[in-house]
């Protein structure tokens, strides 16, 4: 059924062989993968990107990344367990994507704004959103319990890719507010839009690219290519490497090792800075792997081989940072023990906190449909209240 691109457009009037231009769509990241820390924990240089921690001590920043990733993974593990215990209806796992999210999250400044999917638990952690607030949505007690304007972290968006347009519009608002390209690092701001390889096929994502390019909007399109859209492999979404699509829309794209927190941080930091300076959008493809299921309702054994998992386990984002820190004597057992203890405490807090999350009142459904309750809804609410009261003492 599927012709490879090498059979298309070769040596005829349709131009060059596409496989020669783009290379294969997937090849463990390919030669253009930006990497600053190898899976073995070795620091390497890249001609285009440098790990720049600005004023902060580099070792301390890397230890911070390690802590962020361990705690993020613990949030994920605890939430998955809570789902298995029936405390959550569903959970979208991020296992394996900790570096992509922490690297991107820590590259942000307070004035930047994040538009997440429903899987950005690590970015939420970096923004200071209480992980307990993330659980509400998956427990079914709310649809996003945090204030987006409090941490500049938008609500989780379930419709795939819809938030990329919101991000672009928000960035257009920043342009109109005069907070782009002023040269003031505390003022200039940018937006980051998260999405996945599956979403890259959505019309909204492509429209967001068009709008962002057209208006030169200060937005970073951050795609975690975790290789799977539920059961569909990346090859079903694209015949060329995703980051190369950006060029066709008129802005740069780069593929970064999404399991390398240093590289992800460096690339995202540079892309955000471009945006803040008024140089427009950038596409960042964080090349990673979804080590867990799509969500807790999914069964990946039906559609993928365990060989892949074993191969990607060797690229674990946390293990390589630990190897680097230990080998170079930048952290001792006390440090690793302290992070582990902190993770354990967080786990206890999440388990207890989740079970204590109160159900909303049935009557609260009427509260925020509109800015003010309409007369129509007031009648419905009062009728429903009277109906509920009629059961008092009956059940």
């Amino acid at each position: 059924m599927t012709q490879r691109s090498s059979e298309v457009g070769a040596g005829d009037g349709f131009g060059p062989d596409l496989a020669e231009v783009f290379g294969p769509s997937q090849q463990d990241g390919g030669p253009e993968l930006v990497q600053l820390l190898t899976p073995e924990g070795e620091r390497v240089d890249h001609p285009g990107f440098r790990f720049d921690t600005e004023e902060r001590a580099e070792d301390e920043v890397i230890r911070g990344f390690y802590r962020d990733m361990v705690l993020t993974r613990r949030i994920d593990v605890e939430a998955t367990a809570l789902q298995r215990h029936g405390e959550l209806g569903i959970w979208a796992q991020l296992l394996g994507q900790e570096a992509a999210q922490v690297g991107a999250g820590r590259a942000l400044r307070p004035q930047d704004f994040v538009f997440p999917t429903y899987r950005e638990h690590g970015v939420a952690w970096c923004r200071g959103v209480d992980p307990l607030d993330l659980l509400g949505l998956f427990r079914g007690v709310d649809q996003g319990g945090w204030d987006p304007d409090d941490k500049n972290f938008g609500l989780y968006t379930i419709v795939i890719g819809a938030q990329t347009l919101h991000a672009t519009g928000y960035a257009m608002g920043m342009q109109r507010d005069g907070v782009v390209g002023t040269g003031d690092p505390d003022r200039d701001a940018a937006v980051i839009a998260h999405f996945g390889d599956g979403a890259s096929s959505q019309g909204d994502v492509n429209e967001a690219f068009v709008f962002a390019a057209s208006y030169n909007a200060p937005v970073v399109f951050f795609c975690q290519n975790n290789q799977w859209a539920i059961s569909e492999p990346f090859e079903r979404q694209s015949r060329i490497p995703l980051y190369q699509r950006a060029l066709g829309f008129g802005f740069p794209g780069v593929r970064v090792d999404g399991n390398d927190v240093l590289a992800t941080y460096a690339v995202t930091q540079a892309a955000l800075q471009r945006a803040r300076e008024g140089q427009g959008p950038t596409f960042v493809e964080a090349y990673t792997y979804r080590m867990g299921a799509h969500t807790t309702t999914d069964d990946p054994t039906r559609y993928r081989l365990s060989d892949d998992l074993e191969r990607w386990k060797l690229k674990d984002p946390i293990a390589r940072v630990e190897a680097y820190l230990r080998r170079n004597g930048l952290a001792d057992d006390d440090f690793f023990g302290a992070v582990q203890a902190e993770a354990d405490d967080l786990g206890v807090r999440l388990r207890e906190g989740c079970r204590a999350l109160p159900d909303p009142s049935p009557l609260s459904i009427f509260d925020h449909v509109y800015a003010e309750l309409t007369e129509e809804l007031e009648v419905q609410r009062d009728g429903f209240a009277a109906y509920l009261e009629s059961f008092e003492g009956v059940r």
Binding site: T157, H166, A371
Partner: protein
């Protein structure tokens, strides 16, 4: 000093948008061809020249993109007013409108507001090709979180667009495109308008209540004029707001007349008339002398334009329904 002037609906909407932009610097317009061209119907004529390209934004040709970016602008504190060029082109934006615009206040438990106006020229009668003559209002009125209004005349157009922009809720703003350049009315811009989400009796009568909105208000008024010549007194109500509905004036009228005809250009099946009939039956059951009758489009796709006047409800079909109502 303001004074009364004679304006078309197109001019009134243009003046209303201008006034809203003058009153609030956060109001921005976005849509296809709304800048230099002034919109295909010229509703935004001259606004980009006076307010600049940052506030009157010509967009790429992608309706989901228009509405989706407007969501982001609203989250950033702007009050976007987007123009969908024609009713039939709103569907690419349907997901953003129904899943995002309508639900963000609810999803955020009121922490985010969504003060957006989505202007849609709607209805037929202009001899257009497919997708340019539709009446999709019920699909939006069916969606909690959206408000839906329809203006029918220049004076309402001027006030209602400003009120919709000032609303903290998203408003689907329907403009009867056939009326844009049809009639002029006296507009006194110092008057005090009625609240946005209210219906209004536009012609008093005693035999049959005719409910209409948008383009069919004119049809209903013509029918009432013709009926008067035959000794029948029709009361015409311009609903103006479709979600929420303002039923008090309707119930008051129906309790007097006992007979109701609803007319709209949209399909009858599950159209606004169905909801109106149900509510009237619930509230005015013992006042009714006849079932609520509906005069709307047949349940077919919009036809080629040479026969659109046969398809659309007109004076005669309204009067035919009035006859049937009186026959019960």
């Amino acid at each position: 000093m303001a004074q009364t002037q004679k304006v078309t609906l197109a001019k009134a909407l243009n003046m209303g948008l201008r006034k809203a932009m003058e009153d609030d610097p956060k109001v921005v317009l976005m849509g296809e061809d709304i800048g230099k061209l002034g919109g295909v119907f010229r509703i935004t004529d001259g606004l980009q020249k006076d307010f600049g390209e940052d506030r009157v934004i010509d967009s790429p040709l992608a309706e989901s993109g228009i509405v989706g970016t407007a969501v982001g602008l609203a989250m950033r504190g702007y009050r976007p007013v987007v123009e969908i060029q024609f009713d039939g082109f709103v569907y690419p934006a349907y997901d953003q409108i129904v899943c995002q615009v309508a639900k963000i206040q609810f999803r955020s438990q009121g922490k985010l507001k969504m003060p957006m106006v989505i202007r849609i020229p709607f209805g037929g009668g202009i001899g257009a090709v497919e997708h340019h003559s539709e009446s999709p209002e019920a699909q939006f009125a069916h969606t909690p979180g959206l408000k839906v209004v329809a203006c029918s005349n220049p004076v309402d157009g001027y006030w209602m667009i400003q009120q919709a922009i000032a609303s903290d809720d998203p408003v689907i703003f329907l403009e009867p495109k056939r009326q844009y350049h049809a009639d002029k009315a006296d507009l006194d811009d110092t008057a005090t308008p009625e609240p946005l989400f209210t219906s209004r009796v536009v012609r008093a009568g005693s035999d049959v209540t005719v409910l209409a909105y948008g383009p069919t208000v004119k049809t209903a008024l013509k029918a009432a004029e013709a009926a008067a010549g035959e000794g029948r007194s029709l009361e015409v109500i311009d609903l103006r707001t479709l979600s929420p509905l303002d039923m008090a004036p309707v119930y008051e009228s129906v309790r007097r007349t006992g007979r109701v005809v609803v007319t709209h250009e949209a399909h009858v099946n599950l159209g606004m008339g169905a909801e109106l009939a149900a509510r009237i039956a619930e509230e005015c059951f013992y006042s009714l002398e006849a079932p609520v009758l509906r005069v709307g489009a047949f349940d077919t796709p919009y036809p080629p334009s040479r026969i659109e006047e046969d398809y659309l409800p007109d004076l005669d079909r309204v009067l035919d329904a009035v006859d049937r109502s009186m026959g019960f």
